[in-house]
């Protein structure tokens, strides 16, 4: 049995199907979008990492593009933090696991930064209170130090408020430096 009335709509359904397929694929991540053109001036930032051979933390200097968008600067900073220290920085160790990413970063303009992490990044963390505190402290300390006006960081997991990253530090409310 033919359905002549539907045949002209076939291209439309095909596009609809392809659209559905693309929605089922991995969602595009904001950090894959260009955050800078490469023509902007650079500015120094200081990243905080766990100390390599002792307890505590160390600061490492980097440069980011001073884009007009402060959010784009914050994203560059978090990307650099997730990439970890370089081979020439043996005094520091990573605070995220390899291939870590963020889903999105927002700034409310009133001192709050929101960092949305995918569950895969959270699950890749080593676990344990010390590792969890190290990740969160480095994230909060770096953003508060390098992004103008930011004094608190709300961490989300897959867009949702969570009890904790891996069962320890309370992240239901924004974290400030006084929480560590």
């Amino acid at each position: 049995m033919t359905m002549p009335g539907i045949r002209p709509l076939a291209p439309f359904f095909a596009l609809l199907f392809l659209g559905a397929c693309s929605r089922n694929a991995a969602p595009p991540q904001a950090q894959q979008l260009p955050l800078f053109t490469g023509h902007e001036a650079k500015r120094p930032v200081v990243l905080t990492f766990p100390a390599g051979r002792q307890s505590g933390f160390v600061n490492v200097k980097r440069e980011i593009y001073a884009t007009a968008s402060v959010v784009a600067q914050a994203k560059q900073i978090v990307m650099a933090l997730m990439a970890g220290p370089t081979a020439s920085e043996p005094e520091a160790v990573p605070c995220f696991s390899p291939q870590s990413a963020y889903l999105e970063i927002y700034l409310d303009g009133k001192g709050l930064a929101v960092v949305d992490l995918p569950a895969a990044t959270v699950l890749a963390l080593p676990g344990g209170t010390s590792a969890e505190v190290a990740t969160l402290y480095c994230l909060v300390h770096t953003l508060c130090a390098d992004v103008p006006m930011v004094s608190r960081v709300q961490v989300l997991v897959d867009g949702q408020r969570a009890e904790s990253l891996r069962g320890h530090m309370d992240i239901q409310d924004p974290l400030g430096l006084s929480d560590f």
């Binding site: 344990g128 209170t129 010390s130 590792a131 530090m169 239901q172 929480d179």
Partner: protein, 227 residues
């Protein structure tokens, strides 16, 4: 994670706890909380799963404390997932004289080793603007510190800060003295080998039971019980 329906759940847990407690008389109760469970395995290193290890350890500690006359209850007695909120609700309903949450640590530095003990921060009485969940845990901050120091002494924890305050999710809204014990670092191969050694595991259980008994009953040989 959402907390909707918490009131109903808390009320039902409280009712169960009331009937449970009324049948036991005034025996001191300690709530042992093996961390993680179910899909949340905690730290995984090779075939070591934190959730399994701390459950087994908690059961050993339970037996040792029973021999000392201390009643205990576990937040979970099998490999099931239990949210932190559910653990807090259970503790607040049972009202134990102490809650000890058992964990195994992880770090980005493979050299990190040794136990770490965490308790809630004190909330000053002149800070009425502090959120209610912080006030709840803060009310028992002093007792939590005492519990922490008893455990630190038993575990022979060294360092400038044997017991640290930290904003942990398990402390949120918790209205009983509590200490979260990170026994050692599974990410340190030597520490992991020591943790998983059978004899060392029994020694660890002995130390934890001694520390808890010290808090509940007072030091050995002392007739003065703390509770």
């Amino acid at each position: 994670m959402a907390r909707s329906g918490r009131g109903v759940k808390t009320a039902s847990i409280a009712a169960v706890a009331f009937f449970w407690a009324s049948g036991l008389g005034a025996a001191p109760l300690v709530l042992l909380d093996p961390g993680h469970g179910g899909a949340d395995t905690g730290v995984i290193v090779s075939d070591f799963h934190e959730s399994d290890f701390v459950l087994s350890l908690a059961k050993r500690v339970q037996l040792l404390l029973k021999a000392r006359g201390v009643e205990t209850k576990l937040t979970r007695d099998g490999d099931q997932y239990l949210s932190l909120t559910a653990r807090v609700d259970l503790a607040n309903a049972l009202r134990p004289i102490a809650m000890v949450s058992l964990h195994v640590n992880g770090a980005f530095q493979p050299e990190a080793k040794g136990p770490r003990l965490f308790v809630p921060a004190e909330v000053k009485v002149d800070e009425p603007e502090a959120p209610l969940w912080e006030q709840a845990a803060g009310m028992h901050a002093a007792a939590s510190r005492t519990l922490g120091f008893c455990l630190a002494k038993a575990l022979a924890t060294t360092g400038p800060r044997p017991v640290q305050t930290l904003k942990l999710a398990i402390f949120r809204g918790l209205a009983v003295p509590v200490c979260l014990v990170e026994l050692d670092f599974a990410t340190n191969p030597q520490a992991l080998a020591a943790l998983t050694d059978a004899a060392a595991g029994q020694v660890l259980a002995d130390k934890l039971a001694a520390g808890i008994a010290d808090y509940v009953l007072g030091p050995p040989g002392n007739d003065h019980a703390r509770h």
